[in-house]
Point group: C2
């Protein structure tokens, strides 16, 4: 029995794999992944390995703490407090209180519980074709995957300017109106908003850089309606979008609750909910919460090491400069190839929207699928996303260099030429 057959027998058919011919990985180092045949891949996809695969400082912190003490937050120990203080030091406003969990799903589920407990409201607002996680609650918020639309949920259109969802009128006004309608829709169903959950980079929608002022308008409307703003920074946070630590900062706003996940532990299961002392004080009397593994000393040591690496290696600056260069070069490929309808994103979260008809902006999912597999054969790992499955997703570990960008761009150029 080969590995794939053993896998299906042992883990069932729900588990999916990337690529038509899946990659059997055996080693990772920095920006590189290696397969069982000794092939070397430039990783242009994995944001979880945020500071590079198997970063030695992160591994040392993990191994050192695991050999010393691993317990839970019902005992006192220092490094979970230090991690919380480090995260707070990167946050704007008074977002200074951290609660630790293990996954982005747990963070978004807890954030919703907090929003409901604080406001006394039950309604939630999310964007169409969004993804926030996989618990029963959060799956219902994940409109890209879930067909269920519970009464307490109201959905608005994400502000995509390349393919406007509304005909005529000012598109930005239409999108802001869509949020206004969603709040009104909740009211019609007898719910008031507990909050909005909003991915600052709209990953699953194929990356959207929101128009200036969009978040300011939306945050204001939700608050006027009595709800809290939950910024889902599982994708956009931790310097990923360049210039700032957090995606929402590009629009100069401060959420009430921020959820963190994937990049926090460079692969280790670590996630968090960050909020204000005021909200933390209100919920103290209204909900109980304990997470066995959340904020354990080993996870905390890893979390601290990741932030230290980001600071020491000037990773935010790298994301900003290499991201800007890569986007500019992708736009040049867009001038060269008609298949590229749009290039979107910020920092090292970049997307290439493939179309079969540039004028009609017809999504070309088949081209995207072929490109991803061709790129893999060229030794470069990317993937697809977006509601039409036609968008190339480029989101490498943040140690991605100019040389790495050159290799990615050359491979894209070659594959687009043969598409």
């Amino acid at each position: 029995m080969n590995l794939l057959e053993r896998r299906t027998r042992a883990m069932g058919p729900v588990y999916e794999l990337f690529y038509d011919d899946p990659v059997h990985l055996v080693r990772g180092e920095g920006i590189w992944l290696y397969d069982a045949d000794g092939c070397k891949y430039l990783d242009c996809y994995n944001n979880v390995a945020s500071v590079g695969h198997c970063h030695p400082d992160v591994v040392a912190a993990l191994a050192g703490q695991a050999a010393t003490l691993n317990t839970n937050t019902r005992y006192l120990y220092e490094n979970v407090i230090e991690l919380s203080e480090k995260i707070a030091s990167k946050m704007p406003g008074n977002l200074s209180v951290c609660m630790f969990v293990c996954t982005g799903t747990e963070a978004n589920d807890l954030a919703t519980r907090i929003a409901r407990a604080v406001t006394g409201n039950y309604g939630m607002l999310v964007s169409e074709y969004g993804y926030h996680g996989n618990s029963t609650l959060v799956y219902a918020l994940s409109t890209a995957d879930s067909d269920e639309r519970p009464d307490w949920l109201s959905v608005f259109e994400p502000p995509c300017l390349y393919r406007p969802a509304f005909n005529g009128g000012d598109p930005v006004e239409s999108y802001i109106g869509s949020v206004r309608d969603a709040i009104a829709g909740l009211d019609q169903k007898g719910y008031k908003p507990a909050g909005i959950m909003i991915d600052s980079i709209f990953d699953s929608q194929g990356t959207i850089v929101v128009p200036d002022g969009y978040f300011r308008e939306v945050y204001g409307m939700v608050r006027d309606g009595g709800g809290l703003v939950i910024a889902d920074e599982v994708q956009a946070g931790y310097c990923r979008t360049g210039d700032y630590w957090w995606g929402f900062e590009h629009d100069g706003v401060v959420p009430d609750i921020v959820t963190l996940g994937k990049p926090m532990g460079d692969g280790h299961p670590l996630a968090a909910v960050v909020t204000t002392p005021e909200i933390a004080g209100i919920i103290a009397d209204r909900l109980t919460y304990f997470n066995t593994f959340g904020g354990n000393p080993v996870s905390a040591a890893v979390g601290k090491a990741v932030i230290d690496v980001i600071d020491r290696e000037n990773i935010l600056e790298n994301v900003t400069s290499v991201g800007a260069f890569t986007k500019q070069e992708l736009q040049k490929l867009g001038d060269k190839y008609e298949a590229i309808g749009d290039v979107r994103g910020r920092g090292l979260f970049l997307s290439v929207d493939l179309v079969s008809d540039p004028a009609a902006k017809t999504p070309d999912a088949d081209a995207a699928h072929r490109m991803v597999n061709m790129m893999k054969d060229e030794g470069v790992l990317i993937s697809t996303h977006g509601r039409h499955g036609n968008v190339l997703k480029i989101r490498p570990p943040m140690v991605f260099s100019r040389d790495n960008a050159d290799q990615l761009l050359a491979a894209l150029d070659g594959c687009l030429g043969r598409l």
Copy 2:
């Protein structure tokens, strides 16, 4: 600012701490924990450190894999398959398919999603004063903490024989009748059972060893009603109750879904849902699921190492023999001290029910609170549980030896004498 003040500022007031004078831990090794003042504690409480704090083989597996590769299940790699196969080899029946998550909460949430997807039913059955986790859904199943009783939830009495919930009649029949009533109650509200979630050792209820045949009856009734049986083995599993790997095996039953958590990673965030190939096949078409961190290579390496240590160090045999000895000696203390109303449990999951009036079996939460703090001052860590908060909870790492038991018992004897 001292550590406690810093902690409250950084993590908010929701986080609780054990003991009136919290323990500031700095190191763990085997059965021992050490605080910042150099005090050494016999750990008689932490089941998460299942094979002992900082077990060198587990730390080596963690550190070695973290330095080699950490990625997700959308790539092929061997050790997540090997972990799944190892778990399957410990399961009875055809419970051979594993899905990996990071916490018991995630496991119980996913198990509920699976039960609903497979049966097409929405109702859930849980015991009174149970605990299964903290996501929005699973918190509603956690009747010990949640006041919410959604329409789709029906609650039965846990089969405590020491303090029967029903007057007159055969208590076992009454308890089985309580499950029958719960199923009927769902029907009256227009729901059919998707499943029952049942902790095989009833941890939060103060430990209940079910009467012979109880699980067989209950499992049968739920299945007759169209639901699946989810055995929550986060507490009872992994050899904890002695004689068998899984708590439900004491009654010779085989659930449809088993959820695993706390002890799986000796502290590392690792949990799983185990089910049959038939159920895994059905859900493949009915739900999508991906967990970024669930089953990553590092977590899988840790999970494999824990099972290997259990096998190599004959930990199941240790739990069985030292557990039986400890329970017998606790019963002798019960003969000596009127404050002990009952001694319950199996293996190294043991509970001492403290009462102020032995005849009336009046729960004495104050005595339990004082005992836990006195024991801590004697260098022995235990805690309390149960719906009245009066039960001493003794649940050490499974490397607990006869000598360790002697120390525990001497400390209990001394503290009970001074109570």
